[in-house]
């Protein structure tokens, strides 16, 4: 069996007194799409934020592409690394947020080329050429000079995906990418994500779009109260959940 792209063992995370992740184990195979569903407050989004060390962890270990993220291991302990070093590791992991988080003071093109130029020191002309290809791929070739405020939510989210892809990540994290969109705009974002999955990108997607999970996902995880309650192939899990907690959740959202 090949080395997993993401390997999580015993991950724990607390916010103050409240434990939001209580020992998560998870493997994501290279080139596969893992969808994570669950009620709000179940820890799905926190899990994604821990993977690229936007949140500190309180226990457990995590490897992405065989490397620890945000920590260095020495004599059985994990030492947190300074922000400068973590930054280099994050550059290999793309992330797409619920509220897009485009940089409003920059044009669409500038949003996409900023990190490649500043972080990876890609020459500006090369970064620009690549950005235009990516914009074409997400269907927004004509929006390079626009500012984010001039775009619809769906267009902004597609730019955000292009921005993450410009760093040529090994792994893409999607944190409820369609939850903030008007219903008629959800489809265009999911279409871009479907293409990305088909191209072989390893993806972890926190979502409420069960149809997308069934169609595109290779694995499906149901989380509740900071634990993985059930996991399996999307079709099986959605059609015949074993756990009562899963059944209850699905009966409410379907």
């Amino acid at each position: 069996m090949t080395e997993p792209m993401v390997r999580i063992r015993g991950l724990r995370k607390r916010f103050g007194e409240k434990e939001v992740l209580c020992g998560i184990d998870m493997d994501v195979r290279p080139g596969s799409v893992m969808c994570i569903i669950g009620p709000s407050g179940s820890g799905k989004s926190t899990l994604l934020s821990c993977i690229n060390h936007l949140e500190r962890i309180d226990g457990g270990t995590m490897w992405v592409g065989g490397e620890l993220v945000g920590y260095r291991e020495q004599a059985g302990k994990l030492y947190e690394l300074p922000e400068r070093k973590v930054a280099g590791m994050r550059a290999r992991i793309g992330m797409v947020f619920q509220h897009f988080n485009l940089f409003p003071h920059m044009t669409v093109l500038r949003n996409i080329i900023e990190a490649p130029i500043r972080v990876k020191r890609v020459p500006a002309a090369q970064a620009r050429a690549k950005a235009l290809l990516l914009l074409d791929r997400v269907g927004l070739a004509d929006k390079a000079a626009a500012f984010p405020s001039q775009l619809s939510g769906g267009q902004q989210q597609r730019v955000a995906i292009a921005r993450a892809l410009a760093m040529e990540p090994q792994l893409m994290l999607f944190d409820e990418p369609t939850s903030a969109l008007d219903p008629e705009l959800v489809g265009e974002v999911l279409a871009v994500m479907r293409d990305l999955a088909a191209s072989g990108m390893t993806m972890m997607v926190v979502t409420h779009e069960l149809a997308f999970a069934r169609e595109v996902g290779d694995d499906l995880v149901f989380m509740a109260d900071g634990r993985v309650v059930e996991r399996g192939s999307p079709r099986t899990l959605l059609a015949s959940p074993r756990e009562p907690r899963t059944r209850e959740f699905l009966s409410r959202v379907l």
Partner: protein, 291 residues
């Protein structure tokens, strides 16, 4: 009306008389126009009175407006404003970043600085710096084991100019720091998260992502502070620096032409602030992109 049964789509009963689009007249404000005329008349009357009243001594105003002494004072005012404001902005930005730091030592130091320099009147600070030589006759910079890097008599280092710059700049930094801190806090946390997720380091995030967005909030109050500073520099008269206002005062103390010379100074202040307001507008437009 047609005879017989009632016709439900009879045009006399439903809708307007004509299908043609009607002209739309916006609400009119005749009293605004009347009041405007009145205001213009009053303003013209005041202007006429000021222009023709011989007590204003307009010929004297004209005589001193480009006077060499006045222009030298004007230049001193502008130099002090630019230099003290530059010191205030650079130091203020550093203080704001320290204040927001997770590092308790840095944020406490910044808090103490802001507390002290906002509490003591700037006038007192200026006099204090000017008389620094009375407290420490020599300024010496030395390594712990005695190698002297720099040493000078305090009175050589602290001239009226350096005392004025230090006094105004250090006090300004305390105020600017709070304005910049508010600006930084106004940027959505998601911006920093997104920049981090792209692999940007803390310095890049601050310079490229957070600061340009904070500028939108920072510029209007800083514009205010610059305008305050233009006039605030006149405090330096207490340490015998001849700025614009003090120069005017020196002249009228000799000639007793008090009102015309104060008018000269005021007209120059009006001119400076007008230019600054235009510059502020241009900066606001620049940093307002994409909003």
């Amino acid at each position: 009306m047609s005879s017989g049964a009632v016709d439900p789509v009879d045009s006399d009963l439903v809708g307007p008389a004509s299908d043609e689009a009607m002209q739309v007249i916006p609400l009119r404000h005749p009293w605004t126009w009347a009041a405007s005329v009145l205001v213009v008349l009053v303003a013209a009357g005041v202007a006429w009175s000021v222009a023709t009243n011989p007590a204003f001594q307009w010929p004297v105003v004209a005589q001193y407006f480009f006077d060499g002494q006045i222009l030298a004072g004007l230049r001193r005012t502008l130099e002090l404003t630019v230099a003290a404001m530059a010191l205030g902005l650079v130091l203020g930005t550093a203080l704001a970043v320290m204040r927001l730091s997770d590092n308790k030592l840095l944020s406490t130091l910044s808090w103490l600085y802001i507390w002290f320099f906002r509490s003591v009147p700037v006038l007192v600070q200026l006099i204090f710096w000017y008389n620094f030589g009375a407290l420490y006759a020599h300024i010496t910079l030395a390594l712990p084991w005695g190698t002297v890097l720099y040493s000078a008599s305090t009175n050589d280092v602290i001239t009226p100019l350096t005392a004025a710059l230090t006094g105004l700049g250090l006090a300004q930094a305390a105020y600017t720091a709070e304005v910049i801190r508010a600006g930084i806090l106004s940027v959505a946390p998601g911006q920093t998260r997104a920049a981090k997720a792209l692999g940007m380091g803390p310095v890049t995030i601050f310079i490229r992502i957070v600061f340009p967005q904070a500028m939108r909030v920072i510029i209007p109050p800083v514009g205010n502070e610059v305008i305050s500073m233009v006039k605030g520099t006149s405090l330096v008269s207490v340490i015998a620096m001849a700025d614009l206002l003090y120069t005017a005062q020196l002249i009228y103390a000799r000639t007793y032409e008090t009102i015309p010379l104060l008018i000269v100074a005021s007209l120059w202040y009006l001119a400076i602030v007008s230019v600054l307001s235009v510059a502020q507008h241009a900066l606001e437009r620049h940093y307002g992109r994409g909003a």
